[in-house]
């Protein structure tokens, strides 16, 4: 299933370098992902600036952006690392925040991507925005190479802006604070869009909000874990009581 020597030769870099036949997909991928890239740049700059403002070195922003590549958890990771949280707590938190990616496998068109290296990179760089772009109605006809280019452009803009933000962050005067609100605003926007997609299923956001408030009061030290656990349990209980019995226990 390997595509070309040019691709298999680049094992050390998990970045697909399409052979001449695929070059034409790059401009199309760029046009389709321009909106998401524009969203990544200010967030990446804010992430990088926050990394250095929190006392971490600039290269850590690049490392996290290039390897972990999960924007929302990376913001949370800054706080966990500066608080010297145990690695097990970091693993558990990243699991809970990123477990939503499990569901992306149900519809992300990985079968259209050829080559083991390409498929590997596609799963590695499967961020929320890549999933949304690749599963939209108008992406039905996208060849695999365009999906890979789109993912690479998102990855590159995130890592590049994170490093730029970390290097420029030291130029921000110390009395300018509040950049961390970019994360809150991101979640507010994503929550509004996701709730709108539920089309009137109001109990779901209400259950989530109650889970968060309950976790805040009952388990203030482990609010995130407790909230996700309460919410998952509430959803399962709701599914059972509404009569839609699961086909798997």
């Amino acid at each position: 299933m390997e595509t070309s020597p040019a691709v298999t030769g680049g094992r050390t870099r998990p970045v697909p370098v399409p052979a001449s036949a695929g070059r034409s997909e790059a401009p199309a991928a760029f046009r389709e992902s321009a909106g998401a890239v524009l969203g990544f740049v200010p967030l990446g700059l804010a992430f990088g600036a926050l990394v250095t403002q929190s006392g971490l070195d600039w290269w850590w922003a690049g490392l996290s952006a290039a390897l972990a590549f999960g924007g929302s958890f990376e913001f949370l990771l800054i706080g966990l690392v500066t608080a010297a949280a145990p690695l097990a707590a970091i693993a558990l938190s990243s699991f809970m925040v990123n477990v939503r990616h499990v569901f992306y496998a149900l519809s992300f068109p990985v079968h259209r991507i050829s080559g083991r290296l390409g498929k590997t990179y596609a799963t590695f760089a499967l961020c929320d925005e890549a999933y949304v772009l690749a599963t939209r109605e108008q992406a039905r006809s996208w060849p695999g190479r365009r999906i890979l280019w789109m993912q690479f452009l998102l990855h590159l803009s995130w890592a590049g802006s994170a490093i730029a933000g970390a290097l420029l962050g030291s130029l921000i005067p110390g009395n300018v604070t509040g950049l961390d609100f970019a994360l809150t605003a991101l979640f507010a926007v994503l929550a509004l869009d996701a709730v709108r997609e539920l089309r009137g299923d109001l109990p779901t956001p209400v259950l989530a909000l109650l889970s968060a408030l309950g976790a805040r009061v009952l388990f203030p030290g482990e609010m995130l874990l407790a909230a996700f656990g309460l919410f998952a349990a509430a959803l399962l209980a709701r599914q059972l009581t509404t009569g839609k019995r699961p086909s798997h226990a």
Binding site: L38, G39, P42, A46, G55, L56, L63, S64, L67, A68, G70, F73, E74, L77, V81, L87, I90, S94, F95, V97, N98, R100, F103, Y104, A105, L106, V110, T120, F124, N175, T177, G178, F181, A182, L183, T184, A185, L186, F187, A188, A191, L192, D193, E197, T204, L207, A208, L209, A212, R216, L224, A227, L235, L236, Q239, K244, R245, P246, S247, H248
Partner: protein, 109 residues
């Protein structure tokens, strides 16, 4: 700066968990697709997770402190902009700009 080895290990742990969650389900796809529970959860989890993460970001808000007005006003601006224009970039930039201005000036501590 915390111990660099620890800071790197934290990123590697996150990378392993995140990549595992992104890649492994493709191998276990067939039974997952048949599960009604998974489909039920997958339709509702994203919205709920985002609501929880938003609440988590605001967990230290104290309604008795004047300082809390900065994030509350910025949140109202973000939500208002998003309901009005539905442009994610505009909403995030607008809300963050309002927060930086308020937190750095009027509500500076």
């Amino acid at each position: 700066m915390p111990d660099p080895r620890y800071a790197v290990a934290a990123v590697l742990v996150t990378t392993a968990v995140t990549w595992g969650l992104r890649a492994l389900p493709f191998a276990a796809l067939t039974p997952l697709r048949a599960s009604r529970t998974v489909r039920y959860l997958s339709a509702r989890m994203p919205a709920g997770v985002m609501v929880i993460l938003l609440a988590y970001c605001l967990r230290d808000l104290s309604l008795t402190e004047k300082r809390s007005l900065a994030p509350l006003v910025a949140l109202a601006v973000t939500v208002g902009l998003h309901l009005w224009r539905r442009n994610a970039l505009l909403s995030i930039l607008g809300g963050t700009a309002v927060h930086v201005i308020l937190a750095s000036t009027v509500f500076a501590h």
